[in-house]
């Protein structure tokens, strides 16, 4: 049987070249040959012993299997080809023509019904891949179809001279013979033909195990179905059970293939034992012996086939899950994503290989949350630890980005972690599922963009300070003047032989104080001129406003502008970079001053207010009495390169807005009701 599988399988292959005439011709020929040989084998069993005859009719199984793997449009060819084989076999034993045709018709119908049912109900191989399929197969091919066709098959006996009163017996025999064929020979044939690589296919030792299993089963069965003494001593039931452990073992280890193979082995051994020596089943008339044997084998093979199918199904499900897991892992790995799941009940952590690779964790070690967290960069450890553990503890969604140290040289990669809790039906969290993805390249791009923004912001700072240079020079000149004059006064007093030491002390005190003052100016300037990485520190906005005003003091004086400050109490600090924040203030002040260039001298006042906003954040307002924003274009002032100044670049406010945004704040501008405009800088409440 197995030898014709490749040819038929190729003919049935969807990609096989259509109209390959030779193959189409050859296949029915091979089938016909097999059909004939099957019939001969059955006859042979009948001739070898007078106690029994063949318990099932192999040609029906041959035809059924051939139909199953052939395109239904060519079934007629197979039927046509097997008719001569059938005729040849039956005529050889002298069967009359009518009897022969009835037999052929019933044989064909049982094969056709089985093939149709399997094709339509089981749809596709693996035929014994699930309990449902195996059950359907058994119900149809071992019960419905043979019992139906046996209604016709029983007439073969009657036509051969049997009595009509015996119709029921003939029916039962015909039924049992076909049912047994479907349960013993057909399953193993179908599995061998189905062309689906068994999930349990495996290395050499598996073949060895299979061979060993067959050998043991043969020996055990041969012993079990032995002779009369057992019948006499009443050990029959226990002996009959002997092969069962081996059969079950075969089913468990090899699934449907093992089950059906074991059933076939048991059947063959049973027939062989019964043919050659006295056995359990050759005590009555041949008909009774065979019928008993048939019933025994039907009863044995039905549950075994189902068991094999059940195991196959379980294995398949397992494999499917594993494959799915592998696919997900593969997809995750190729997209640079690492998956992890934390089980609350067991506190166990499962991670994909790619996840380990991302985090730089050794393969195959048992992990817990701490091992995972230990990979975080020392600078990020606290944040990640707190975020992850609190998300796990509170079963809330998590989203965080952090660095992982790679190698000893301080290299790191940026990972983004997202996690979601998984809840059971009652709403209690059972697990936390998350992904890690490598966001190093995005971070690098962001860092580059950030660097460029910083560059631009720095250039703008330098240019703003350039505009202020006159005033800034004055800020330095004042203390320098005081220092010089004090020193010169001291020199004169010294030359005069002045005796009061206290006067020199005062002079030195003043020199020191003024030097400190000059130093402070330079310090502020250096802060604004330098190009450091942005810091993250608590910045006192009131202090910053005062420092900025000190820097601009001379400019304000020169332009004849007064400043009116109104600071609230308990103003929280803003987290961020003092230089960047001061740049915003500087820009706002400069705008206010420029806006009042042509204002009447008595109106030149800048009103500054810093206070807590309603939401607990910080609000800074800088109002001027100048020209105000250009009407109808108030929104445009934040657009890059939009300017109302003669020599403006139009970048100041757009940069300030982005600086404010980076600190989580907003910068807005609005016209005052009376005159001028107000710049409003808001920051959210500080996060604790």
């Amino acid at each position: 049987m197995a030898s014709l599988a490749p040819d038929i399988a190729i003919a049935n292959h969807p990609r096989a070249p259509r109209g390959d005439f030779a193959k189409i011709i050859r296949n029915p020929f091979v089938v016909a040959t097999a059909y004939y040989l099957g019939a001969e084998a059955a006859f042979l069993v009948g001739t070898l012993s007078d106690k029994i005859f063949a318990p099932f009719w192999p040609p029906n199984v041959v035809l059924f299997c051939a139909l199953l793997i052939t395109d239904p449009r060519r079934w007629w060819l197979l039927i046509l080809a097997t008719l001569p084989a059938h005729a040849a076999a039956e005529l050889r034993i002298g069967m009359p023509i009518l009897q022969l045709f009835v037999a052929f018709a019933t044989n064909c119908s049982v094969a056709l019904i089985n093939a149709l049912a399997v094709r339509h109900l089981l749809v596709e191989p693996p035929w014994f891949g699930s309990i449902r399929k195996a059950t359907t197969y058994i119900i149809v091919t071992a019960f419905l179809s043979p019992s139906l066709c046996a209604l016709g098959g029983a007439f073969v006996q009657i036509l051969g001279g049997g009595s009509f009163e015996q119709y029921g017996v003939y029916w039962a025999r015909w039924y049992a013979s076909n049912a047994l064929g479907s349960l013993t020979l057909a399953p193993i044939a179908m599995i061998c033909l189905e062309g689906v690589k068994s999930q349990l296919a495996a290395p050499a030792f598996r073949h060895l195990e299979a061979a060993l299993g067959v050998a043991i089963l043969v020996v055990v069965s041969a012993f079990a179905f032995e002779d009369l003494p057992a019948v006499a001593t009443g050990y029959v039931p226990s002996l009959l059970y002997l092969p069962l452990p081996i059969i079950i073992w075969a089913a468990v280890r090899f699934g449907a293939k093992g089950a059906s193979g074991a059933v076939l082995v048991v059947s063959v051994v049973l027939i062989w034992r019964t043919l050659n020596s006295p056995s359990l089943f050759n005590v009555g008339t041949p008909e009774a012996n065979v019928f008993a044997m048939q019933l025994f084998l039907i009863g044995l093979s039905t549950p075994i086939l189902l068991l094999g199918a059940a195991i196959e199904e379980a294995r398949r499900a397992e494999t499917t899950i594993r494959e799915r897991e592998e696919r997900i892992s593969f997809a995750a790995a190729t997209s640079g994503v690492g998956l992890w799941q934390y089980e609350f009940a067991t506190s166990s952590l499962w991670v994909t290989e790619s996840c380990r690779a991302l985090l730089g964790l050794p393969a195959e070690t048992v992990l817990d949350l701490n091992a995972l967290l230990s990979r975080a960069h020392p600078n990020d450890y606290q944040t990640v630890n707190a975020a992850l553990k609190s998300a796990v503890r509170r079963a809330t969604a998590l989203e965080i980005e952090f660095r992982v140290q790679i190698g000893a040289e301080g290299d790191h990669r940026w990972l983004s972690a997202r996690a979601q809790p998984v809840f059971d039906k009652d709403g209690t969290p059972t697990a936390m599922t998350g992904v890690f993805s490598d966001v190093s390249s995005r971070k690098a791009t962001e860092a580059e963009a950030d660097l460029q923004r910083q560059e631009i912001a720095h250039l703008m700072r330098v240019s703003t300070l350039g505009e202020l240079s006159g005033g800034l020079a004055h800020e330095l000149t004042q203390p320098l003047t005081a220092i010089l004059s004090n020193a010169q006064a001291g020199k004169i007093l010294l030359d005069q032989g002045h005796k009061r030491v206290a006067d020199f002390g005062e002079i030195f005190d003043d020199i020191i104080a003024e030097d400190v003052r000059a130093g402070a100016v330079i310090h502020r300037l250096r802060g604004l001129l330098r190009k450091d990485e942005a810091k993250d520190e608590a910045v006192d906005m009131v202090g910053l406003v005062l420092s900025t005003q000190a820097l601009m003091h001379s400019e304000l004086v020169t332009r004849g502008i007064c400043v009116s400050n109104d600071f609230g109490s308990n103003i929280p600090a803003v987290r961020g970079d003092a230089v960047q924040l001061q740049q915003i203030l500087l820009n706002i002040f400069m705008n206010a001053m420029d806006a009042m260039e042509n204002a009447a001298p008595e109106r030149r006042t800048i009103f500054v207010a810093v206070d807590r906003s309603k939401d607990g954040g910080i609000e800074l307002r800088v109002a001027d009495c100048g020209v105000g924003l250009p009407p109808s274009r108030e929104k445009m002032v934040f657009e890059p390169f939009f300017t109302t100044k003669k020599h403006g670049l139009g970048l100041g406010l757009s940069i300030c807005a982005s600086l404010a945004k980076r600190h989580g704040g907003t910068l807005s501008l609005q016209n005052n009701v009376s005159a001028g405009a107000t710049a409003i800088l808001r920051f959210p409440p500080p996060v604790d």
């Binding site: 003047t481 004059s485 003043d510 003052r517």
Partner: protein, 211 residues
């Protein structure tokens, strides 16, 4: 060094700078009065005290040029030295046009400051002398009668007594008496002295009647 009464008035709203320059000037022997507010300076200002003012150009309340304008308005011509943090051309021009002695850039060297102060002191002395002279002439002129004044105006226009008598509708003898009294009151001996005095007092000579 100027006379003992010579005072330098310092105006700068930066207390540290004010204190240091005051200290320097005091050490150098100047009598100084310092003001951190330009308004206070203007209110307290006494033009009769000899001296000069050193004023910072950039002040929040009222800038240096404003102080200069206020002083000029009040009729004082106190010499002013400006101090500035930046060499601003337009401010310098304005200040110098309005009669500033000097325009010094901070931080100021003492030599520059002292030499400016010397010049300021000279200027102050000169202007004070001039003022004093003008005042005494005016005082003497005030003692003249109407007729004597008329005679004065005719004398300095170089006319003879006879001609003056004719113009004033009197006799030559009377003119001679008036002339003698006028010369005595004014304390001049010659017509040449009289002409110089009249010039200082900006007295216009009388117009000769057209012949």
């Amino acid at each position: 060094m100027a006379d003992a009464c010579f005072t330098t008035f310092l105006v700068d709203d930066d207390p540290a700078v004010l204190r240091s320059i005051t200290r320097l000037l005091s050490a150098a022997g100047y009598k100084t009065k310092s003001f951190s507010s330009p308004q206070n300076f203007l209110v307290a200002h006494d033009p009769s005290v000899p001296g000069c003012a050193i004023i910072d150009l950039a002040m929040a309340e009222l800038d240096g040029l404003g102080v200069q304008q206020e002083l000029i308005k009040s009729g004082s011509n106190r010499p002013i030295i400006f101090l500035t943090g930046r060499g601003d051309v337009s401010s310098t021009v304005k200040a110098m046009k309005a009669g500033a002695v000097d325009f010094l850039t901070k931080p100021v060297e003492r030599e520059a400051l002292f030499s400016a102060l010397e010049r300021a002191a000279e200027l102050d002395t000169l202007s004070r002398q001039k003022r004093r002279e003008t005042a005494s002439i005016a005082e003497r002129l005030d003692t003249l009668t109407h007729r004597e004044r008329q005679v004065l105006e005719h004398v300095i226009s170089g006319r003879l007594n006879k001609q003056i008598a004719a113009s004033l509708g009197t006799v030559e003898k009377t003119v001679k008496v008036h002339r003698g009294r006028m010369m005595a009151k004014l304390g001049v001996r010659s017509v040449a002295d009289l002409v110089r005095l009249a010039e200082k007092a900006a007295i216009e000579p009388a117009q000769a009647p057209s012949a």
